[in-house]
């Protein structure tokens, strides 16, 4: 009783802003208002599983996986270097990663729109140093670039925070027992940093899967992702039933991926980051 009372405001808050909206989505997804009344229907879900929308879903998952993978391959070494003892400008570099996040996300994505133009800054630079021009605006590559750029800090920071907490004594012990750098990394650092990696993957994969701004601006509105489809149903077409049905499928997908993640995540540290 004493423990639940302080929770009350939070419970009320969560009910109003999380539970009720979720029920509304379920309600809209399973009903239709076709005949001036409300009728239970599965039509919205039948429509979601049409091939054309399955293709959109597949494309979204594919782009999100690619972006997450790129973030991991770029982010892990960066985090490793930053966490290293030899690295003295740690805080400066962390600041450099965080500062762009102070700026509006939309503005940063808009900037890429101008940078990547045919006659934009990137191409002018490439021409200056004698390289062929790069025409990736309005393609999948531009969308992946936008996602990696926007979500990279969400990969680096959790990994860095786990890596920097690894006890130096463990590494010294590994060295004492004759492990070289590669073995130390593979058998000590990597397994210990796994919770951070899992956090990073989750924090990049989810926004990447649901984004609609990046794909609309940098993909030129033709690379419709699942987020765009949902946005279109609510903001342009006004078909809340279909929009809710896609959202529900989306929620289920995210729940599944979270379940998979937490299966791998046994350390306490990763959880503490959330």
């Amino acid at each position: 009783m004493n423990r639940t009372r302080p929770m009350l405001p939070y419970m009320v808050w969560m009910t109003i802003f999380i539970v009720v909206p979720l029920f509304l989505i379920v309600y809209y997804a399973f009903t239709s208002t076709e005949f001036n009344g409300v009728a239970l229907t599965l039509d919205n879900f039948r429509r979601v599983f049409q091939p054309v929308y399955m293709k959109v879903l597949w494309r979204s998952v594919k782009l999100a996986v690619v972006s997450t993978a790129v973030c991991l391959f770029v982010g892990y070494p960066a985090a490793l270097i930053m966490a290293g003892n030899a690295f003295s400008r740690k805080n400066t570099v962390i600041m450099l990663f965080v500062i762009p996040m102070w700026m509006n996300f939309l503005l940063r994505t808009y900037a890429w729109l101008t940078l990547l133009e045919r006659s934009g800054f990137v191409n002018q630079f490439l021409a200056r140093i004698g390289l062929p021009s790069l025409n990736i605006l309005y393609t999948d590559s531009a969308v992946v670039l936008g996602m990696v750029y926007n979500f990279l800090p969400f990969m680096i920071l959790p990994i860095y925070s786990v890596l920097s907490k690894i006890d130096r004594g463990v590494l010294e012990a590994a060295a004492d027992l004759g492990a070289n750098k590669v073995v130390t990394f593979l058998r000590v650092i990597l397994p210990l940093s796994l919770p951070g990696v899992i956090s990073g993957i989750t924090m990049v994969f989810m926004p990447a899967l649901t984004t609609f701004v990046i794909s609309r601006l940098l993909g030129g509105g033709q690379y419709t992702l699942i987020g765009n489809l949902i946005e279109q149903q609510f903001l342009v077409v006004g078909d809340w039933g279909f929009g809710s049905a896609i959202s529900m499928v989306m929620i289920i997908l995210i729940l599944i991926s979270m379940a998979v993640m937490s299966f791998f995540e046994d350390g306490e540290e990763g959880r503490a980051l959330w």
Partner: protein
Amino acid sequence: MLGGLLLLTLILSGCSSNKETLYVYNWGDYMDESIIAEFEKETGIKVVYDTFATNEDMYVKIKSGGSSYDLIFPSDYMITRMRDEGMLEKINLANVPNFKYIDDRFKGQDYDPNNEYSIPYMWGTVGILYNTTMVDDPVDSWDILWNPKYRKQILMLDSQRDAIGVALIKLGYSLNSTDPKQISEAGELLKQQKPLVLAYALDEIKDKMVSGEAALALVWSGDAIYAMQSNPDLDYAIPKEGTNLWFDGMAIPKGAKNKAAAEKFIDFLCRTEIAFRNADYTGYATPHVEARKLLDPEIRNNKAAYPDDEDLVNVEVFVSLGEVLKEYDRVWTEVKAH
């Protein structure tokens, strides 16, 4: 002196705590925004100015409730639709004396026969904006937007009635078609076009055309004029198969909290000098007789911006489609998802 005193009291009263607020919802890039500050200064009414990108965006937002705009800028077919659904408030023309400056050509159109619900704001056509240095074929038909030669050099309007409308005209149907078979055919045509399209966009189209990013674009005439002023290589054509003639109006949504201020702002926008500045800034054609006379002759007499009645032979105005609209929604969603 007395006038000055009056103005002063107006300004002072405007500063008092119970400041009147007017919520305006307009298209992006569709007003010289310095005008807003002037209106605030003159009347003491605070203006909150938001923008939307398409009629459908605006409609869904108003329809779903929760927003409380006093003044909106829907197009012809949307005015009819909102009127029919009881979403618009009647405008008291006695409060809008400057309505007299609106050209009779634009009064009493079919979408709002007695101008009970809307006052014309801008008008124009839909056509093709193209870069003369990148296109060597004659631009006189919608077919050019399906020409594989211009693969990835075509920009399309990300607006369902406009995009599907063009496909319908190309197929020889009415752009107000209510036949689901014809609408589906138009959808198929747009899916065929998709590999050639560089991007589906709205306000960005003019900037991308100015910077030479694409060769051809489906645009609203005003954006074309704006872009042509910034890049002399650009030109605008209305295809021979015909096109859409459109009118954007100013209207007051039902339940507006400050109808009086909305009418005051409409009247303000219909002042000759203000209407001129808006037309000059946006590039769109004003229905205001006196304001048009103030414009640079190059624009005033430009047939792209101000086509005469005889230039507008094959044109159709969008009409509200009722239930068939669902068919348009479905086809457009599929085209975008394709």
